[in-house]
Amino acid sequence: MLAYLNNLAVLISINAILAVTLNFVLGYAGIFSLAHAVFFGVGAYTSALVAMKLGGGFLLSTAAAMAASALISLALALPALRVRGEYFVAASLGLQMLALTVFSEWKVVTGGIGGISNIPPARFPGFEISSPAQYLVLALGCLALVMLVVALLVRSSFGRSLKAIRDDETAASAFGKNVAVIKTIAVAVSSALAAVAGSLYAFYLSFVNVESFTLDTSVYLMAMVIIGGTATLVGPVVGAVLILLLPAALSYLPGLPQTEVGSIQQIVYGLAMVLLMIFRPGGLWGFRDQSRGDR
């Protein structure tokens, strides 16, 4: 039971990192990306390869993963962010589809459908992370660090520029903001931080394959952010906890056949989204935040 909870907590932390980084672009910059799982994947594959082929430890592998992810995000951001919102959604969906094909077909690098296995444990100078409990500490540490970076950025002049662009792009540019460059940097930062989750994931499972990086993942991450509360620091974490605990909670529900858990889960997600839109359009955490800020 403890091992099960430990595993769940690590996965929640990894997903929370992804949700927090997605929220950075979605909530603060108003950039609607359906490709966040791609950057998770690029991070995971890059980290796995650096660890296996170059003998990189956690820090080196993660740094390489972040760089690779940021670079690939530029391929999406540079052309797509010059146009208005809807086009970016379409372009990000395109990248998600394209990346999935690359992940499953570029067998020399990604191992194809079978993926990459036997990834060595995460090494730090002087020690090695091996037990699940140690991974939990590492994952929580990474989550805290990513949240700190996002919090600092949001409060900085850069964060204000992002919010200004989100609220009114025309006015932002009329006051001298280079909208395309600011958005591109935001996407690159978000993708690089998402790669940290990918790296953790690869080391933790010592196995990666394409199934973790599908459009479904991108949509679930979107759901975490929206349910938890966009443009809040804690909201996406709350969303990640809820979305990951839901299947676990359902499987322990007495009288519910295990075979039905999947479909019940979909119904609960759908219902939760509808209820949220009606009663708490700012997300679970968002509502709180706004009432505290103003009244």
Binding site: K163, D167, A174, K177
Partner: protein
């Protein structure tokens, strides 16, 4: 009233059509330093389009704009903004979900990277500019309210605070006084007059002729995209032909 100083901004033969409609048609006029020029004319005369052409939000089909002696045609609008041309919008376009303070703060921060240039001195200068703007429009005690939660007049003043904080040298104001109560309007005029003494230049789009009379040093009269008259307020407002156009009695 004064004739103004040197020419800051000049348009020559500026034209822009939307489909078959000539929104701005061969307009040549100049904005002189240190005065208020009013752009007047009936609805659809092309006043806001002219603003959009000057600020680079629209590209002209023909003609040129020079700012401080250099052509700014085709320059991206954010660069034009950084060169000192600021504007307000008819629909305000405030950063609604941000606080009053953030609205003013963010226009002082133009660097696109993760940090702003200028170090501590730059930070202090930007802070002072933001504080000054908030104080000038009397919104300092509303600094933590979100822009969307402000009352109408407060929102109007926030849009003025934004242009003030931005440090723009030329203010293009799109109907800044519409809907203001007399008290707020007086405050607005005083504020603009005060800023004129501090070296700004204003071009204002205004419908209310009483307001135009009260605030402008020069009037440019537009109708159907064409510049019909450009001169001192007294003679333009006394012209019966222009009054007829303005009040809708169009001569054939």
């Amino acid at each position: 009233m004064s004739a103004g100083g040197a020419v800051l901004l000049e348009t020559t033969g500026m034209s822009r059509a939307f489909g078959g409609l000539k929104a701005v048609d061969n307009v040549s006029f100049a904005l002189r330093e240190g005065i208020v020029t009013a752009l007047v004319g009936p609805n659809g005369a092309g006043k806001t389009t002219l603003f959009n052409l000057i600020t680079g939000h629209l590209d002209p089909n023909a003609g040129d704009v020079t700012w401080l002696g250099k052509s700014i045609k085709g320059v991206p609008h954010w660069k034009i903004a950084r060169s000192g041309i600021g504007r307000t919008f008819q629909d305000l376009k405030l950063f609604d979900q941000m606080t009053v303070q953030e609205n003013v703060q963010t226009v002082t921060e133009r660097g696109a990277w993760l940090w702003q240039p200028g170090g501590k001195a730059g930070l202090a200068e930007r802070r002072a500019r933001a504080e000054h703007a908030l104080a000038a429009v009397r919104l300092a005690d509303r600094r933590h309210a979100r822009a969307v939660d402000l009352a109408y007049a407060e929102r109007k003043f926030l849009s003025v605070a934004r242009i003030l904080a931005s440090g723009a040298r030329l203010w293009l104001l799109d109907e800044p006084a519409s809907g203001l109560d007399p008290g707020s309007y007086e405050r607005f005029v005083t504020l603009v007059r005060d800023q004129l003494r501090h070296g700004i230049t204003v071009c204002i789009i205004e419908h209310n002729l009483d307001i135009v009379k009260g605030i402008s040093d020069r009037i440019a009269f537009l109708d159907q995209g064409r510049l019909l008259a450009d001169g001192d307020p007294a003679s333009i407002l006394a012209d019966p032909a222009l009054a007829a156009i303005y009040f809708g009695e169009r001569a054939a």
